[in-house]
């Protein structure tokens, strides 16, 4: 019972931290935030590993196998796609540099060509 009391305390405190931290995230990043938070609940994979320790019946073999697939997809996919999104958020620093180069070349068509190159890289 004692450990349950501690666990509930942890749960409540973590909720408060969550509200506090999330409230500070700008709207710009809400999509990556949702996706990032989504991957954090993939922590359930740790739960799968823990229950696998005691598994010895066919039923639990099936449950563990399915839960491992679903949990791993959640956590790995979530982090990869969030990283992919955040990679695209670029500061104008790199953009400004590009503009300067363009002005040096003195050709108005260059920015568009550059943008198209960027597209081909994707």
């Amino acid at each position: 019972m004692n450990s349950l009391v501690i666990a509930i305390t942890l749960f409540i405190l973590a909720l408060l931290i969550g509200v506090e931290v999330i409230g500070k995230v700008p709207a710009t990043l809400h999509t990556p935030l949702m996706s990032g938070a989504n991957s954090i609940h993939g922590i359930v994979i740790v739960g799968v590993v823990i229950i696998a320790t005691e598994a010895h019946s066919p039923l639990s073999y099936v449950l563990i196998f399915l839960a491992a697939i679903l949990g791993a997809m959640n956590v790995v996919g979530g982090y990869v796609v969030t990283d992919r999104m955040l990679e695209m958020f670029k500061s104008s620093k790199s953009g400004r540099k590009k503009n300067k180069d363009d002005q040096n070349h003195q050709a108005s068509a260059v920015p568009v060509a550059n943008a198209e190159d960027g597209g081909a890289d994707k």
């Binding site: 666990a7 695209m88 104008s92």
Partner: protein
């Protein structure tokens, strides 16, 4: 607690701290990517520790471990594949799919706790794991339907549920009833646990099916919070600090985002979840649409206005993404900036299909994030803008929101009408999601350019290039 348990506890605590730090770093685009990696590192540490503990303490069956590792490998491969392949416009669906599998995993773990425990599980385990089963199952089917609706799978989109209130109450009651029976009859737990799961799965279906496709982002966010809570319940059942803290963090994140989103859409969260926007409220407001004539313009004329402007504000909406014209808009922005025009992008909180989605779409088109400006910061700038170029946004620009009595009343809007000239690129004369005419279109300083956004923007770019050269 032996030494290994204490080490394990602190490692889980460390990874929980890393999750908080990771989320904290999300408060700026500069540090967000690092934050996500800190969070991922925390996850790797937690999983590694779980495996170390597993091998150090021994396990009941090698087959279980083989299946565990095999499952993780298959799941990881599927996750990486879908994460790499997805188009940025389809991001909300993918988040929903990952939420589906997360909820499913949480439900399965909880089910395992109840069904395969040695001896009779304690009441605490029955309650927490039971809640894990319920919430995880609701999330599983609910997110699946949400993803299907967003993807536009016609089978799911056309699903209708007559008497939705009856079904919702019925399934909710049956789920709660079975959960109570499960807790009261631990010796007969298998049938009750399975019934609980089945009715909770059914509740997920009847909960999401009546909700309109445009409200899916809010639903996804709510279900995301649910998965987090289900994971935390699992944490309570198996007494694991990492699951409790991470689950609570996600629960808080999902709840906070849901409320923010509902506010931005100007609707109480509960009314979104009850479903049924687009019914009576819209037909009632039908008669008070704006009157007058719209002024049409040509791409050449728009190009002249843009090139000779000092300051231009782009106002992108989901119509831009539907036309796949983000890159064209970014190119036009680059051209104008090269010509010395000040360009910025006004981003409404619900532009796109989920909050912040438009930012991701424009980031993909290489628009620097400093140029993407939130509602509160951009609104004071409209009066000093020579041209506001609205591309595929409708309700979020409707001045009718400023006075009471319309379907959009009270909704936070972009003050586009305060710009000196307004150009609206729009596919047709149709109404927005709220179902009313946009008064902006009838303003004397507004010009309309009717066509696919991509075609219009390409035409504008072509004539801007001629003018600059």
């Amino acid at each position: 607690m032996n030494t290994l348990d204490i080490i394990t506890w602190f490692v889980y605590l460390l990874s929980s701290v890393m999750f908080v730090m990771g989320l904290h770093c999300m408060n700026s685009p500069k540090t967000a990517r690092t934050g996500n990696r800190i969070s991922a590192a925390g996850m790797i540490i937690a999983v590694a520790m779980a495996f170390i503990h597993l091998f150090a303490t021994g396990f009941a069956s090698s087959l279980a471990i083989v299946l565990l590792v095999l499952g993780i490998l298959i799941g990881s491969a599927a996750g990486v594949y879908s994460a790499r392949k997805v188009k940025m416009t389809d991001m909300p669906q993918l988040v929903s799919v990952f939420n589906t599998v997360g909820g499913g995993a949480a439900a399965l773990v909880a089910l395992n706790d109840i069904l395969t425990s040695e001896g009779t599980p304690t009441l605490v385990v029955l309650i927490t794991a039971g809640l894990g089963v319920v919430i995880g199952s609701v999330t599983f089917t609910g997110s699946l339907i949400a993803a299907g609706k967003l993807q536009g799978v016609s089978l799911i989109k056309n699903l209708k549920l007559p008497a939705k209130a009856v079904w919702n109450v019925l399934f909710a009651l049956l789920t709660v009833l079975c959960l109570v029976m499960l807790c009261l009859n631990p010796d007969n737990r298998t049938p009750w646990a399975l019934l609980t799961a089945i009715f909770a799965l059914g509740y997920g279906l009847v909960f999401v099916i009546p909700i309109g496709g445009a409200d899916m982002p809010v639903v996804i966010s709510v279900l995301n919070a649910c998965t987090g809570t289900a994971v935390a319940m699992n944490g309570l059942a198996i007494d694991n600090v990492a699951l409790i803290v991470a689950g609570a963090l996600v629960g808080a994140a999902g709840a906070t985002l849901s409320v923010l989103m509902a506010q931005a859409m100007n609707r109480p969260l509960l009314s979104v979840l009850a479903g049924g926007f687009g019914g009576s409220s819209v037909s009632a407001s039908q008669d008070q649409g704006a009157q007058g004539t719209m002024k049409e313009t040509t791409p050449d004329d728009v190009a002249v206005q843009l090139v000779y402007a000092d300051k231009v504000i782009f106002v992108p909406g989901f119509g831009l993404a539907q036309a796949q014209a983000q890159r064209e808009l970014a190119d036009l922005g680059e051209l104008l900036k090269g010509h010395g025009v000040e360009v910025s992008y006004a981003i409404h909180p619900v532009a796109g299909r989920m909050p912040g989605h438009m930012n991701v779409l424009l980031a993909e088109a290489n628009v620097p994030y400093e140029e993407l400006i939130d509602l509160d910061d951009i609104n004071p700038q409209f009066p000093s803008a020579n041209v506001a170029l609205v591309v595929g946004a409708n309700d979020v620009t409707n001045p009718a929101a400023r006075r009471p009595g319309t379907a959009v009343s009270g909704m936070p809007i972009l003050d586009v009408d305060k710009a000196q000239h307004v150009v609206v690129l729009k596919r047709g004369r149709g109404k927005g999601y709220a179902g009313i005419e946009n008064e902006l279109y009838f303003n004397p300083n507004t010009q309309m350019l009717f066509n696919d956004a991509k075609v219009s923007l390409q035409a504008i770019i072509a004539s801007v290039k001629e003018l600059i050269a």
